[in-house]
Symmetry: C2
Subunit: 149 residues, 2 copies
């Protein structure tokens, strides 16, 4: 399917894959830590980490002489998923609120202030409502996209 | 799992569900149109649409007297998924480029200009790099989140 979303979901659309990425953004780097936090079966975790390494979203680094310890670090391609992940987390936090309040707060490490909600902006920096945003085929696009009413 | 992302993926983490939502943002509203565009089996489409209606992401409206024709329209909760979907599409377009160029271009319907890439911003409106963004437990959060290094 000539579609970026279908393509993206092939790579990161799987539930464990997204949760591993979330933890990678939280600074988790080692197999044992992912395993403990996620409570995921070791063979599944191993398969998902390999998949993310093959897709160049994580990079495996040996951090002990014999290669016994390895760290999985986000690549630039992996880091580029952060806005999508943040948007999904924020959506869940807003629409399925926990009675105790926000579960995770994302903050600007330089100022310590919470970041703004992820949303679309115009070239002029105005926040756009869903109705303001249209979609049209680009040069490499399918011809059957209709403009949003 | 006390996690907004896990919760979110329960609701919208399924591939067809996301592709249906993408088409809903493109203005698609009718069963037959979704079916034709996605090439999805009718029973699966029917199940996914019901799921999205149950989750109050789409609303079903009868648009003919006998209720034969129905439209599925995005609710406010559904529309709120747009930043996440845009971010996923943009990521796919950037990292899996089509040789002919951009597949879909999202534009500001008022100015006709492309929208900015979806990304995180500080309260002051500065674009944030992944390394600038930390995560900490909110009042309703788990206690095992570590700050991103």
């Amino acid at each position: 399917m000539n579609c970026s979303l279908a393509q993206t979901l092939e790579v990161v659309g799987e539930r464990w894959t997204m949760l591993i990425l979330r933890d990678a953004f939280f600074g988790i780097r080692r197999f044992e830590e992912f395993q403990r936090r996620l409570g995921i079966a070791r063979n599944i975790l191993s398969a998902r980490l390999s998949h993310l390494v093959n897709e160049e979203i994580l990079e495996r680094h040996s951090v002990s002489p014999g290669g016994k310890w390895a760290e999985y670090r986000l690549t630039a391609k992996g880091k580029a998923l952060q806005p999508a992940l943040l948007a999904l987390v924020q959506w869940g936090d807003y629409w399925y609120p926990n009675e105790d309040g926000l579960r995770v707060e994302f903050f600007d490490r330089r100022s310590d202030d919470p970041i703004l909600p992820i949303r679309a902006y115009s070239q002029e920096g105005e926040a756009l409502e869903p109705r303001d945003i249209g979609a049209r085929p680009g040069p490499g696009g399918p011809k059957n996209i209709v403009a949003k009413k």
